[in-house]
């Protein structure tokens, strides 16, 4: 830690920035600054606006209001090119690699045109550069062949090659093991001593607090204050991260009978971004999956539904699950509610009716012809039960609000009589508070009928209120399991941020 005083020049100043995506206000009047020679940590829960803020600082997103100044110059027409010219280097969470090109070519493209070596010298120059960053990869290797950890380190090296005044790091350690994290931090600290300012976004509090000078907390797109890293405890930060403006109600949980049989058994399931995972979900149980975004949760659920390649096995109600394509799990009664509503879960231009019944038309048909009356009858009950707000069942599903769209995609497993397992990915994302309860209640009702459910959510409050048990995933594996009697928002957040204070909560509490 170099601890530059307030007199040090400010290399990045974000003032009063707001940004909305559709109806979602991602940032509201947020201000952050970063001084030369400082590591400024930016922390907050999933969806608190960290990545949006970095996107604005890097020029990739244009703010609705507010201003960005880099090294004293205003970023007027935001674009990554303009921000780079002013001195911003960005290491994106999902990288800026062109996978079809070699490592050397990627490094070459990352350098500003005037600072590039001669084209013919590219390979030799890349070897030198890689050695300089202690990166053990071949310059001629295709970037697509690198491991995720190597890609992550390469991304940071590329950002540093622009000789930035300020370096933006978005979750730079998600794919790194503990040793690699330490090596990475040494590299970063070296640069800080050279006078670079660093904005470091991470959900791993102990990691980021070990190197940060100051910390800014975001919650629901609003800044919660900036603190000296040495003067603030993890405990206090967690409290700032999760403070809740709204209380959400949850349906009542019934204790599972001890002899509830296993419905879904996963053994050694392993894919490109997760695994191996062993897991048992019992009949009537809602299991929550928590974790910072991008730690394999989505891929795990998709693999179970046959939508992603994986090795290992899973059984549903004792029968081996054929996960080579989505057809196998569907036949076995395993239903995925994709988080990508527009792209995967719904047919946006088709009517509410068509969307609700598309998977069960055979049951509603006689001699191959769908009986419109039976179809209407079937959905009318469910629409009432889920309290879907709409004009008519014939309007396109895309004309409904996000919450009501989500309810429609939930109707499907209800219409099928043979559902055994529901895999729900972010079931309430973009759903207003009122509609959330309806969705929770619907899931709980299905569980009470004997269905096993897995809910992947980035909202710890939701997981603690809805689920019977929560597992926490990190780097593709289950790292912690939280039983029903320990469930709580704070407990989950602490498990996600890898905080050591978990055991001390009862004794100390937030200051």
């Amino acid at each position: 830690m170099s601890n530059p005083g307030p007199g040090t020049p400010v290399v990045l100043s974000v003032r009063g920035v707001s940004k909305a995506f559709g109806a979602v206000q991602a940032l509201r009047d947020v201000s952050v600054d970063c001084r030369a020679g400082e590591i400024h940590a930016l922390v907050g829960e999933n969806g608190s606006g960290k990545s949006t803020l970095l996107g604005i600082a890097s020029g990739f997103l244009a703010p609705d209001a507010g201003a960005v100044e880099i090294g004293g110059s205003r970023l007027r027409r935001p674009s990554p090119a303009a921000a780079r010219r002013l001195g911003v280097g960005t290491a994106y969470q999902d990288y800026s690699h062109v996978l079809g090109l070699s490592v050397a070519e990627n490094l070459f493209l990352a350098v500003p045109v005037e600072a590039r070596p001669a084209y013919a010298r590219m390979e030799a120059w890349a070897e030198e550069t890689l050695a300089e960053f202690s990166l053990d990869v071949a310059a001629g290797a295709p970037t697509g062949a690198l491991s995720l950890a190597e890609r992550q380190l390469l991304e940071v090296a590329k950002a540093l090659l622009t000789r930035p005044k300020v370096l933006l790091l978005d979750e730079p350690t998600t794919a790194l093991g503990p040793d690699a994290v330490e090596q990475f931090h040494r590299l970063v600290l070296e640069r800080v001593h050279e006078g670079i300012g660093i904005v470091y976004v991470s959900h791993r509090l102990p990691e980021v607090l070990a190197v940060a000078d100051r910390v800014t907390v975001l919650r629901d797109g609003v800044g919660q204050g900036t603190f000296d890293a040495a003067a603030v405890s993890e405990d206090e930060l967690v409290t700032l991260m999760i403070g809740r403006p709204l209380q959400v109600a949850f349906p009542e949980r019934r204790a599972l009978p001890d002899d509830a049989e296993a419905m879904l058994e996963v053994s050694g399931l392993q894919g490109e971004r997760f695994g191996p995972i062993d897991l048992v979900v019992r009949r009537g149980e809602i299991l929550g999956i928590a974790g910072a975004e991008g730690n394999g949760q989505v891929q795990f659920l998709r693999a179970l539904a046959g939508a992603e390649r994986a090795t290992g096995g899973a059984a549903c109600a004792g029968e081996r699950l054929d996960m080579r394509s989505p057809a196998g799990p569907l036949r076995a009664g395993v239903v995925l509610l994709s988080g990508d509503r527009k792209g995967e879960a719904l047919f946006p231009v088709l009517s509410v009716r068509a969307n609700a019944t598309v998977q069960v038309l055979r049951r509603l048909a006689r001699a191959g012809v769908v009986r419109r009356g039976r179809e209407r009858q079937a959905i009318a009950d469910l629409v009432a039960r889920l309290r879907v707000r709409m004009g008519s069942a014939e309007q396109p599903v895309s004309s409904l609000s996000g919450g009501n769209q989500q309810k429609i995609s939930l109707v499907r497993p209800f219409l099928r009589g043979d559902v055994k397992v529901i895999l729900a990915e972010e079931p309430t994302q973009g759903v207003d508070v009122g509609a959330r309860f309806d969705i929770y209640e619907a899931l709980r009702a299905k569980a009470d009928e004997g269905v096993a459910a897995i809910v992947k959510s980035s909202d710890p409050l939701e997981l603690s209120g809805l689920c019977d048990r929560v597992v926490v995933m990190s780097r593709g594996r289950i790292v912690e399991e939280i039983p029903a009697d320990e469930l709580g928002e704070r407990r989950i957040v602490e498990a996600i941020v890898g905080s050591r204070v978990g055991a001390r909560v009862a004794a100390g509490g937030p200051a």
Binding site: R85, Y92, F108
Partner: protein
């Protein structure tokens, strides 16, 4: 770039193989007269295919090229009549190039500003140009300046100057694509536009330029089409699909970022050779279309074989990270 040589080798082999077979059965095929004709016949397709390859490199398609070539022929039948000469003829030629330039800018605006998929945008342009050609010339009429057409098709020996020029252009194009900074930038934009933008590249300008280049090449191809038909014909050729076929057979990836100008030129020659050979064997030309279709499918599978094999291998060995310590991996 070793994998990039596969299309070149395959096309060269097919050209020589088919030529040798045809020459053995019908010696007239390898006559200097016929070879010279074949090279001239190949010019429109070769030129437009080089342009199409550029559009494919940035991940787009331009299906309006054939309609544009026809529009250029029709324009030439007005601006480059047998009576024009001197400065008027130069202006007339510039008018034809201008039609190409305007079309390219129009396509680029549809794609970049209105964010239309390139295949849809150029399909619209195709219809507009087709209609405009028919409005200007309801039936084939209006001769094109013979001096110009004669000059375009002049040869040294049996090799047309134009062919030498196109071959040079293709070689220079590949050298640019694989040996220069801007060539690398073009491929990067085609491979991954988002990452390219993040790296500060002017992705919009690159795509715009690629489509303007494509249309300009189509306009030049239009001159050679004009030299072939010699009259303002509003009938559309089938070079749109054939140019995509040539680029793909020459090694271009339909997803963008990969391709070879030399490979494209060889493929254009081969496709013309098929058209040239079939009449010798008294085979109907329908067979040419079918042969080309089968070849494209085979080429796509063959060129992608290394990727398919790699993907299969990768799927057998999932990438696994070093296991994290259970309990949330506290830092010391």
């Amino acid at each position: 770039m070793r994998r990039g040589l596969l299309p070149l080798a395959l096309m060269a082999l097919l050209i020589v193989g088919l030529g040798a077979y045809a020459g053995a059965v019908h010696p007239v095929f390898v006559s200097r007269q016929n070879l010279g004709n074949l090279l001239i016949e190949a010019m429109p397709l070769a030129l437009v295919s080089l342009g199409q390859a550029t559009a494919l490199l940035v991940g787009g398609f331009d299906v309006s090229v054939a309609a544009l070539m026809t529009m250029c022929v029709v324009t030439a039948s007005f601006t480059m009549t047998p009576d024009t000469s001197g400065a008027a003829l130069v202006l007339g030629a510039l008018a034809v190039v201008g039609v190409g330039l305007a079309t390219g800018v129009f396509n680029a605006i549809l794609i970049r500003v209105l964010k239309l998929p390139s295949i849809v945008a150029t399909l619209g342009t195709l219809s507009i140009l087709e209609g405009a050609s028919l409005a200007l010339r309801a039936y084939p009429t209006g001769a094109i300046n013979f001096d110009v057409t004669a000059a375009l098709t002049r040869s040294v020996g049996f090799v047309p100057f134009a062919f030498v020029g196109v071959a040079m252009l293709a070689l220079l194009g590949d050298a640019w694509l694989y040996r220069t900074r801007t060539g690398l930038a073009l491929r990067a934009v085609g491979l991954d536009a988002r990452s390219s933008r993040r790296l500060g590249m002017a992705t919009g300008r690159t795509v715009l330029l690629a489509f303007v280049v494509c249309s300009l090449m189509a306009a030049i191809a239009g001159f050679y089409l004009g030299a072939e038909v010699q009259i303002g014909s509003p009938i559309i050729g089938n070079q749109a699909l054939e140019s995509i076929a040539a680029a793909v057979l020459g090694g271009a990836s339909l997803a963008g970022g990969r391709g070879s100008y030399l490979g494209t030129l060889l493929a254009a020659l081969f496709l013309t050779e098929i058209d040239n050979v079939l009449p010798l064997f008294q085979q109907p030309t329908e067979y040419a279309d079918m042969t080309i279709g089968v070849l494209i499918l085979l080429a796509l599978v063959l060129y992608q074989a290394p990727e398919l094999v790699a993907r299969y291998r990768a799927s057998r060995q999932p990438v696994v990270q070093a296991p994290a310590a259970p309990g949330g991996a506290p830092a010391a």
